[in-house]
Symmetry: D2
Subunit: 305 residues, 4 copies
């Protein structure tokens, strides 16, 4: 009996909305970075649950909007967010602490994190691949520029690895455990309190948590964190979650790409620039009323401006 047959036996019957494409990957870790993963643990609702909730709101008013997909597009375009809050997903995520620190800034979610006060962290830390070791960007104060050449990047990787290892060695010493096996080292003494020892670990150590969020807030997270300005190490998590989103709620996914993550917000001044240009008025960077940065950004999207 293979693995899939066993899973089949574990299934229960339910009257709740069920999404086959998501059931296929339920509980299965999707690898991210060198030791991280995302696992879907549970979900509530599907595309039709959003339509159902919207129809409670609009009652007979939505009768004519016969197609669900059209209604979902309408809701997304007009930022009618409450129906999207009617779906919920729960993920198990393993991620480096410096990524967790960004992630947790999204407050409208539920989190159960592994506690290093109670338990001992494993010897697992993130080391970037060589092609991710980049210079500080000159133009973007928070971004990466060119990749280092091989020799230089190896030196950086060695530093990261050696420091993480030495810190763990001392962490294990403090806890009085063998750093490989986790066994007690010296039976004659106790370990230092775990809540103290943990401060010796570097920010690339992995932590893990259960993370539960509604669909509206998930999309807000994904819009920000799949953006090319987001740090690579959180963006790769967002990208895997986009694939999960597509499996879970395919109509919402399409609407999200068109109206949210792939959209562009024109400022009042930029509206005027395009309006004038379409009316045949010549607009230059100087007389556009836009800042240099805004002009360049608009030009990036509309090169024939």
């Amino acid at each position: 009996m293979d693995n899939n047959q066993i899973l089949e036996l574990d299934k229960s019957k339910t009257l709740r909305p069920t999404v086959e494409a998501l059931e296929e990957i339920l509980y299965k870790p999707i690898n991210v970075l060198d030791h991280g993963f995302i696992r879907v643990i549970d979900y509530m609702g599907d595309d039709s649950a959003i339509v159902q909730a919207a129809r409670v709101s609009y009652g007979k008013g939505t009768k004519k909007m016969s197609q669900d997909k059209g209604l979902i597009n309408y809701l997304m375009k007009h930022a009618h967010t409450t129906p999207f809050e009617m779906c919920e997903i729960k993920l198990h995520v393993k991620l480096p602490i410096f990524v967790a620190r960004q992630w947790v800034r999204h407050r409208t979610a539920n989190i159960n994190e592994y506690s290093a006060r109670y338990s001992i962290l494993d010897k697992e830390f993130y080391i970037p691949s060589a092609d991710q070791i980049s210079y500080q960007s000159i133009s973007n104060k928070q971004g990466r520029g060119e990749v280092l050449d091989h020799e230089d990047s190896q030196k950086i990787l060695d530093m990261l690895r050696q420091d993480a290892e030495r810190c763990y060695e001392n962490y294990a010493y403090m806890l009085n455990i063998d750093e490989e096996t986790g066994e007690v080292l010296d039976e004659s003494r106790n370990g230092v309190a775990r809540e103290l020892a943990r401060m010796n670990l570097t920010l690339n150590y992995y932590t893990q948590w259960y993370w539960k969020i509604d669909l509206h807030n998930l999309m807000h997270f994904l819009k920000l964190r799949s953006h090319h300005h987001a740090q690579y190490e959180i963006r790769v998590y967002a990208e895997k979650m986009l694939e999960i989103l597509k499996r879970w709620v395919p109509c919402v996914y399409d609407a999200f790409i068109n109206y949210s993550s792939g959209s562009f917000n024109l400022s009042k001044t930029a509206i005027k620039v395009i309006h004038d240009r379409l009316s045949g008025v010549h607009i230059s960077k100087e007389n556009s009323g836009l800042s240099a940065r805004e002009w360049d950004e608009l030009k990036g999207i509309f090169p024939n401006l």
Copy 2:
């Protein structure tokens, strides 16, 4: 083929945690008040999902706490609330507007309400049963005292009914619909905007919504709204939800009754009063340090104080 057989066919297979006792009542309206109801629409998680989330947090630290029920009690007692946030429930509720106004003060929930800007409200309003028509309480500024005698209460009920009916009559006139059938009355004219006409309805008209909340916040709601100080008309909803809670997460339900809704918070001064009394010191209302109200409340719980 009877109804239950049909439902059986509608079931899907899922790997998600499934609660049979809750599946039994899924989608079925539970009546509340004269026209209201609660229906469970969806749920995520069960008792074991809480244990599972807690074990992510405490890791190896919970190994010894072998019994799930013990762990749930421990979490509830010590207000370790995050594992309870890992379960979620979605209800469809029909309720009078004045009840909805109290309900919505619980902000940590998702709501999709029927919109009377888009759609027309049905002619359904709440009329209390005669035994609920009470005088203003003298002692409790926000409560009810004695029940009115039959003749007086009938007069009140007639007023409520007549005013609600007359208001709907004019609401329907404004909308240009027949108040019984909802058909257009006069084809030669339009109705007044629904968003305007609705203001003529009284606060006992029924509205409805989808309401989604996590288990931790649900229990907070239930603690406040099943309390005997809560208004009767919201308390009856809370009581039905307690029954739902018991079906859904029986271990959590027991812990909730013991450590939360059935518990009593002793102030620092009250701790000293009981401490002294157990040490054989005589404590009187006057020298207790408690306000008269606090003393009476404590005496209500411990008559032999």
Copy 3:
């Protein structure tokens, strides 16, 4: 000694950021609708508090962005919302209950509402002005169309007034008070519980609350509620609050108008339409890939499309 001199004496000295233009209107009711008002009760922070908070985040990284206004524009444009959460405002608002029901859907705010369980509501209800009595819009399911002619609107206004008055008459009877003076009517009997009697009032009765919100969430509220799709009766509150915003944080106000309330979000498909059009490609409604509604909306902004 005039009123302004008295107020001057009431002033305290503080090291906190203080905004003179807002102090001028502090505590003074700004009238809205027929009996409503908004009063600023307290505030925390000003334009410079946002800059200060942003500089904590970006540290030396913001050194070059020497102008505060530029930084505020940058934060607004890129939806870096956390610095805007560092300002807070507290308002006292009197508003019809049906408006309050929309308002309270904004959950990220603190509210203390007048309780009709504890206290008696005054005889104050909202009656629209005649030029606000409109037919249901044909095109917009939730909006207003043409204004009724004089005779028809008077009939509606009479209905609203008479129903509100009769409901209050019975409310007062139930409470055993004189509806004009609020004095006890009949000393020989008690009133019905206030929590019951209130259900007989119509949704245009006024309630009031203290409402406290941070600047980021205030702007979200204002964007939605000052929009021309918002119901007139809440929009007039939003418009008064925009004036308050302008007094309080003038740089933020300008950025809000340009990048948020006056902006337009182009979907991915709409970006392509404009891109092609600027490249000289002819785009028609049919081959645009936009829905009819979206095409018309885009055409409304860019008539020369």
Copy 4:
């Protein structure tokens, strides 16, 4: 002209409620741990603002409750939390990253954190004092037991210091800066992206943020984090904040100590135990219905049980 005179000149006049005891310490850092601090940056409201908000809710119903302190006690005892949400405080806090990770789990607050993607962290890390280096508690899975003897604790402190220093040395190398002066080291090369280099720092490095929270949520934070089960390194921050609370809202502070932080929640079972004991019934650990842990805890509070 001394410092206080200068500050006096900086003061503005305001009609807002002002708290002199808090103005005295405004902007002044209160030291915590070896390099941390708390500074009050701004505040909104005082004791009377809570009373004022409560009186909006209860209207004439609170007329008789003539004393503000009595009303505040009443609100605190009965968990009427909304009036406490009407006050707000903003703090500037410098704290070790592992403390920040606990702190941020309180989601109902606004945060602007120093960004190590934009800017370079200073060489400042937390080293406990020797009397804080304790063994893992045997009884409490998340706590500290006995303090290590001098020689052993020195060894731990050396490890912590050496690892933090070496990690910073490599952090500075990656960034191409001098670790003491922050000057560029080698003009011929760029530094590695700051968002990458930061992962090499240990969790005891200091970060800082602006943190804004309402009074209700602040007290919830303080109740949990000033508890003796909280980790020492966050508890010392909570203790300083309790002093700030006392200056800011002295009546609320007293009520908080009596009804919240100093209170004890009796479970339903524990109520019965005390009830029986006061009625003269002998109760033993075995027949109490309490778990061993609960019995011991109750016995800790009432030794004569």
